[in-house]
């Protein structure tokens, strides 16, 4: 085990800012990216569903 206490772990031997600055940026982007990718698919699905609804309403109206 490398660390005597949680505080020592977060301090990273004085390099805390740099280590957590790096890992933090990675975590942030690698969480944001899949969320955005999922949102992109949800958005297109929503508009596809709306289109489909409009089409069915359209065909009902003409009948």
């Amino acid at each position: 085990m490398n660390w005597e206490s949680p505080a020592a772990f977060f301090a990273m031997g004085g390099y805390g800012l740099y280590v957590w600055g790096s890992f933090g940026a990675c975590a942030l982007l690698m969480i944001a990216e899949p969320i955005l990718a999922a949102k992109r698919r949800r958005d297109i699905l929503r508009s596809l569903r709306r289109e489909r609804l409009a089409e069915t309403l359209d065909s009902q109206g003409t009948e």
């Binding site: 085990m1 280590v19 940026a25 982007l29 990216e33 596809l48 489909r52």
Partner: protein, 249 residues
């Protein structure tokens, strides 16, 4: 042989790849999670303190994988883009388009973590080191690819133009890398290099490799998510998309 060929072409159509990708995504997320947990555990709790760089060296557990992935994804992206240009397969071009943002993010992360490593080690956020400089140019190449595709409205033209740019880029990347290396050694001599640590404990190496696997699985998972969205956007007016269960409900 013939059977296998048909098999491959079957999955080369967006229609059959869309559900397949949907099934593959959870698996790659699972693998990514396992590798991330293992890699971070080794990186923080098993790998010893570096005698020269103290705890600051632990940045390599994200820096090196990000740098590797940024280069590897460019090659894969160019491969798919080139395949799309040569065989006129829509899916491979969509794959290239889906990979570009992930590659750009990896290039950005390798720059960012390089800077945060450089500040305590070199005393400066940015040093015109050969690796950092080539990573910066690689980042520009990604941005160029994304910007070119975004500027073209016609999807097929965007695919083909992007493919030519990616192929020109692939020819140039080694030349750029070599020229930057040459420029760097000429101007300031050999500098301390992040990855060329003189004594690298085996556990450090293992931590790095497992983290690289984690980044790899992550990239595949997120690119598959994005390619599914791209498939829906591009095929919005086809029958099969309208018949999808997630569209019907």
């Amino acid at each position: 042989m013939n059977n296998r060929l048909i098999h491959w072409f079957k999955f080369a159509s967006p229609q059959s790849f869309y559900p397949l990708a949907g099934k593959m995504i959870p698996w790659f997320w699972g693998l990514a999670a396992i590798f991330f947990v293992a890699g971070l555990y080794i990186g923080f709790f098993v790998a010893p303190t570096d005698f020269q760089q103290g705890e600051g060296y632990r940045i390599i557990f994200v820096h090196v994988p990000a740098a590797w992935m940024s280069m590897f994804i460019y090659l894969v992206m160019a491969f798919w883009a080139g395949l799309g240009l040569a065989l006129n397969t829509r899916l491979s071009s969509m794959m290239a388009q889906a990979l570009a943002p992930t590659g750009a993010i990896m290039a950005f992360l390798s720059l960012w973590t390089g800077a945060w490593w450089g500040k305590p080690m070199w005393g400066a956020w940015w040093v015109w080191d050969a690796r950092l400089t080539s990573a910066l140019i690689l980042f520009f190449l990604y941005i160029g690819f994304i910007a070119l595709q975004a500027a073209i409205d016609d999807a097929r033209r965007a695919d083909k133009a992007g493919a030519i740019l990616a192929l020109v880029g692939v020819v140039n990347v080694p030349i750029i890398y070599f020229s930057v290396q040459w420029w760097n050694t000429l101007h300031q001599g050999a500098s301390v290099s992040l990855t060329r640590a003189p004594t690298m404990a085996t556990t450090m190496l293992w931590g790095m490799l497992i983290m690289a696997l984690a980044f790899w699985m992550y990239s595949i998972a997120v690119a598959l998510m994005r390619v599914r969205a791209i498939i829906l956007e591009r095929e919005a007016h086809t029958e099969w998309v309208k018949e999808l269960p997630e569209v019907k409900n």
